[in-house]
Amino acid sequence: MPLLEIDKDKCIGCGGCVEACPLGALSLVDNLAVVDEKCTACGACLLACPVHALNLPEAGPQEAAKDLAAYSGVWVWVEQFHGKTGSISVEMLGQGRRLADSRKVALTACVLGHNVEHITKEAISFGADRVFWVDDPTLAAYSTAPYASTLINLVREYKPEIFLMGASSRGRDLAGSVASVLYTGLTADCTGLEIDPEKGLLLQTRPAFGGNIMATIICPNNRPQMATVRHRVFEMPVADLKRQGQVIPIKTAMSAEQITTHVVDSILEKDEVNLADARIIVSGGRGVGGPAGFETIRKLAELLGGAVGSSRSAVDAGWISYAHQVGQTGRTVRPDLYIACGISGQIQHLAGMKTSRVIVAINKNPEAPIFNVANYGIVGDLFQIVPALTEQFKNKLHK
């Protein structure tokens, strides 16, 4: 069945759509437009129709361009894992609130999961005016299709102007799918979001080429303007438990039978692996010398409540697992404190950590490039300095 709908009462049989169709899927029968199976719902015919007799469930770009004004409000997808709100989403709610105030519109949070009513309250306390609450057993664990289809339906019905998600593994997976189906712009991994005071467009700034350039990107003719936002760039808002908001229960878009992807097991790592959420990271590189050397790194990380990172060379040597790798082919991190031990600081490593707030470098080689981005440095043997530093913190922090 072609997706294109033709309103026979409106059609005047002018044939404009027949000419516009790149596939030859439209023809005139008895002076009325008729569509056949060749139609791919591309939308090319929509603008050609002078009487708006053609309609597609998925609005094409021209269609979107016509009714940009119909889109209003800022939305945030609130990510949760095992019923716990992701801190990245709390940051998003703070940013969403700021953008919504700037556009003088409401902030809506989309909470999907199972037994997640508590998160709706949390979202309101962090700034949401309205919460779409989709609670269903099929949404307990994140899976692309049911999450994406539910959000796509909501966007089509309620037409938000801006839709933000965290640039986490799940956020990137979901946003890429949603934006693709909606035919709208998606800017990945933003580190800056502002509203253009003249046109009201969302100005999305992101690093590219391993952080060597910053690009500011707009989405002028499609809606919603979508962005994923890098973790730990923006301040966490303060919860206001007295804030009031509206919670609207919504049904999920897919039935259990329609869902073909199932999470059968999840293996949680210790906190030392979760680089993305870590405020403090202690990282080791080639200078660590072997798997046993990482024990020294681990002790300091554990004392400070931080995660353990590593350079690519330590991962490639098999000293530590890939989940720990920081840099261009690993994770990009932005902790408050990054302690690089025995890491020379190749450009690919720097790309993954140079926006950390405070960088400390401990390296034997005074010429190591890591010192160019470090706030504090010690030239010396990490096996002497790191244990000594651990001892010092133990005493000074009374741990």
Binding site: T144, A175, Y183, A188, H262, S321, G377, K396
Partner: protein
């Protein structure tokens, strides 16, 4: 089994030049490589072929010189390669790129698995894989670092995905698009045998006219919902290096500990 691998040619340098008039990246004159994550996708495709039979087709959207990346993939053992190159594709953002690649994949016919790298190291978006999957209406499995089980006869795949909190084992239905991370394998080097084949292989170049059903208004810059309006340098790191020098490791460590504590992070 029909395996399709999408690859991107990326600059092998971090020195980026920008055309001030168009605000686009100047890629001429910079040596190019296959995006490192895509190397893992190619390798995984070759391993699946070795295990299950079938063929590996690599496709790439890019300027004419991206043929080199495709030849390299054939040199590793890929059976066929398709280049997508046309002025009409120029300036594609991640949406238009996904759209174009999905049209080419539809033209290729029946497939079981599509493999992509988790992201390209120049754009860093990670959006094209999910974009292609959505355009084709197939399962997407991102950040895969292990294919645990593949059962083509019943159309089922089981993979392990790498997430922030740990790992996740997921069962899904084929056909599926997988984006892979570095840990999944160790890419092989090109062999002389395959390199000879690559040098004589005529790789077809498809233009917009070769893609059935292409909506020309959705291709290239014109079809891209996003526009780059400004390129700038990243903010410089503030402050200068405070290099701590003391007589012993203990003293240095003590001074450093005090300075870190004074930053009020701990």
């Amino acid at each position: 089994m029909n395996i399709i691998v999408c690859i991107k040619q990326v600059p092998d340098t971090t020195d980026v030049k920008i055309n001030p008039e168009t605000n686009t990246l100047i890629r001429e004159g910079v040596s190019s490589i296959i995006n490192p994550f895509d190397m893992y996708a190619i390798e995984e495709g070759l391993r699946l072929k070795e295990k299950f039979g079938g063929k590996v087709t690599v496709i790439s959207l890019g300027p004419p010189q991206s043929i080199k990346a495709l030849k390299e993939a054939v040199g590793m053992g890929a059976d066929e390669a398709i280049q997508l190159s046309d002025r009409a594709f120029a300036g594609s953002d991640s949406w238009a790129t996904s759209y174009t690649l999905a049209l080419a994949i539809k033209k290729l016919g029946k497939f079981d698995i599509i493999l992509c790298g988790k992201q390209a190291i120049d754009g860093d978006t990670g959006q094209v894989g999910p974009g292609i999957a959505s355009q084709l209406g197939i399962t997407q499995l991102t950040y895969v670092f292990k294919i645990i089980k593949l059962e083509p006869e019943i159309g089922k795949i089981t993979v392990e995905r790498l997430l922030e909190e740990g790992r996740e084992i997921v069962e899904a239905r084929l056909p599926a698009l997988l984006t892979v991370v570095k840990d999944i394998n160790q890419p092989r080097a090109a062999t002389l045998f395959h390199m000879r084949r690559a040098s004589s292989l005529q790789i077809p170049t498809w233009t917009a006219a070769d893609l059935p059903g292409a909506d020309l208004s959705k291709l290239g810059l014109k079809g891209s919902p996003t526009q780059v309006i400004k390129i700038s340098s990243p903010p410089k790191r503030e402050g200068v290096l405070d290099l701590i020098k003391a007589d012993s490791a203990e003293q240095s460590a003590a001074i450093l500990a005090d300075k870190i504590i004074a930053e009020k992070i701990l």
